[in-house]
Structure formats: structure tokens, C-alpha cells
């Protein structure tokens, strides 16, 4: 019985020590990777300014808000990280807004598990570009098989992936409805 306890304890302690050492050695690098990945997608939302810096602001329940500043100190605007309920599961989006919060600067898909080749095409530039310049004061909507009218915030749905396209549009509408008042409230 004593041998049993001693061996088990010894193995646990050794394992704990090894893991603690590994974690200690790698944790900085892992954190750097995480921040680099986040900054890369944040920068991409604002047209790929690699030297821009981003500060996290207090967001709402479901959204996280980042304030972007260009390398020369001018305000880039805000990026809102928001969820959307896709066909395969949750989609995480970053939506970039201008400093006046009136228009969308760009969107990035951070995470998704949509079907490759169908819903997965939301990551393609062609789909994402449609959102650039859209008005944040009107709700977005999507159309199928006809030319979208950007003046009334229409985007073209992905062929064969209506549920995913609809999820993105709804997610952005709901996320911005929470985030914009939160940003405005903070400025006052």
C-alpha cells in the first residue's frame, strides 16, 4: 500500500514538474502567436496596415471592441468582434468601422466551421469586399441570383450557401446594434 501511494505521488509530481517547466518555457511564445494572429486579422479589416496598433475597449455581452490607431497616430476606427450562427456552428467575425461609425471598412472571418466550398467561401475576398463601404445606419440584407444594390445595403448571397450568407448578415446587424451604442456611450 505504501509503495502504491509513493509511486503514484512520485509520478504525479514528476509529471507536474515537467509540464510546469514546458509551460513556463513556451507560454510567452504562445501568447505572442495569439496576439500576432489577432493583430493580423485586425489590421486586415482596415486594409492591411501592419504597423497599426489596437486597444481593446469594454464591449457588450457578445461583442468585443478594438480601437485602431495607425502608425502615424491617426484614428483608424473601431473593429467589432462578433458571433454569427452559421450552418455548421458559430462563426466569429471582425467588422471594421470608420472613426465616425457610419460605414463598414471591411470584414474578416476569424473562425468558422462552415462546409468547405460552400459556406466556407465567406472567407473569399469576393464575398467580403461586398461589405466595404456599406452604411451602418441601415440593416444589411442579402439577395440571391440578382445584382445586389449596395445603396440599400444589399449583398450577394453565396450560391448554395444561403444559410451561411444569411447568418453573416444577421450576425453583423445584431452585433453592430449592440456595439455601436456601446462605443458611442463611451465617447460621451
Amino acid at each position: 500500500m505504501r509503495k502504491l501511494l509513493i509511486t503514484l505521488t512520485l509520478v504525479m509530481i514528476l509529471s507536474g514538474l515537467v509540464l510546469a517547466a514546458t509551460f513556463q518555457g513556451l507560454t510567452d511564445r504562445i501568447e505572442e502567436n495569439r496576439v500576432a494572429a489577432l493583430n493580423a486579422s485586425l489590421a486586415a479589416v482596415f486594409g492591411g496596415d501592419a504597423d497599426a496598433t489596437f486597444a481593446e475597449l469594454p464591449g457588450s455581452d457578445e461583442t468585443t471592441i478594438y480601437e485602431g490607431t495607425a502608425a502615424n497616430g491617426t484614428a483608424l476606427g473601431y473593429a467589432v468582434r462578433l458571433p454569427a450562427q452559421g450552418y455548421g456552428g458559430q462563426i466569429t467575425l471582425l467588422v471594421g468601422l470608420g472613426p465616425d461609425l457610419r460605414s463598414i471598412r471591411g470584414i474578416e472571418v476569424v473562425e468558422h466551421i462552415e462546409t468547405p466550398g460552400l459556406g466556407g467561401r465567406i472567407t473569399e475576398t469576393e464575398f467580403r469586399e461586398q461589405f466595404v463601404g456599406l452604411d451602418t445606419q441601415i440593416d444589411l440584407s442579402y439577395v440571391k441570383n440578382i445584382e445586389p444594390n449596395a445603396d440599400v445595403n444589399e449583398v450577394q448571397a453565396i450560391s448554395g450557401a444561403t444559410i451561411t450568407s444569411s447568418a453573416i448578415v444577421t450576425g453583423i446587424n445584431e452585433g453592430l446594434a449592440q456595439a455601436i451604442p456601446a462605443i458611442e456611450g463611451r465617447a460621451e
Partner: protein, 215 residues
Amino acid sequence: MAVTMEAAPAKSRSITAEFMKGLVRENPVFVQVLGMCPTLAVTTSVANGIGMGLATTFVLVFSALIASVIKRIVPNEVRIPIYAVIIATFVTIADLVLKAYFPPLSASLGPYVPLIVVNCIIMGRVEAFATRNAPGISVVDALGMGAGFTVSLMVLGAVREILGNGSILGFALFGDGFTPMLVMILPPGAFLTLGILMAIFNALKANREPVLIRT
């Protein structure tokens, strides 16, 4: 399980034979049908297959080594918990290393790296081989099984990536005229590919073994 695990000490067999059995005769995927969860889930590309295969091999080799070295001092009653702790330790190390040095691979393998801890190949080899054999030959066995697992995952990943995405290791193979067979990188494609490869594997094996009854 279709294959009886190695029970007796394998002193008589050569190191080469011990390594090679993991590749073909006792291939963990196609013959023993172990580790199906990562086999089906991550083989959407060759790169994923190699990454998962190597991570599993790493855990397998070190767990087998340690288990074999300490086999005489481990009391039988706590054998399984101790091996579980050892395996979990190496899985966590593998997960951290992947996160630190290969973040894209780590992201695409997702939860399946931590899940190596429940991969039956590892517990199977540790229990069935490493605890009954010397450290040296246990490592050879683990390397063979790991290689067999990695090669199987690569083959699955290659078939699925070529057909389902029209590329191999990320390089496009065909022109614009090729429409990828989407289903192959979706879950049904994993089952179809595995089933067909297993059928081919069995057919090849059957041809090499003497046929007793022909119906």
C-alpha cells in the same frame, strides 16, 4: 478487435521485423482499426495527416519508453492511472509545442491534439508491448506503430485532399477545369475513403496469404 495483441516477449524477432509489423501486418489503422477518431476527423489534407501522425508518434514513443523503464517499480494496482498520467503529460507537451512553434497546424488540428490522450493505439501499445518488453525494443515497436499510423493518415489525407480540394500539400494539381469532389473533405468522405482503402488493404493481404476456403 480483429488482431490478438502481442502478449509474449518478442525476444526472438529482429528489430526490423518489430518495426515493419506496424507498417503492414499490424497496421494500427487498416488492420487493428484503432485511433479512428483522429483518423476520420483530421485527414482532410496531407499536412494535417502528417502533423497528427507525428504528434501521436512522439507521444507513443516516449510513453512506451518510460512505461518500459519503470515497469518493474509500478505496482500492478495503479498501473493504468500511472500510464494515463504519463501519456497525458506527453500529450500536453505535444500540444504546447505545436501551439508555440506551429500555430497554423495547431489551429487546424484543433481539439484532436489533446484527444491523442484517449487514442487507443497508445494505451494499447503501452499495455500490450512496452510493459512486457525491454525499453529498446519497446521504442522500436512504438516507432513502427507510429510510422504505420502516420503513413496511413498521410495516404487518407492525400486521397481526400487530391479529390476533395484538387491539391496536394496545398499545391493546386489541376487547372480551372477541375471541380473538386467536395464530399471527400467532408465527414462522409472520410468514411468512404477509409472503407475503400481498408478493402484494398484486405484484398492485398488476402492475396499474399494461403486461401483455405473459396466460396
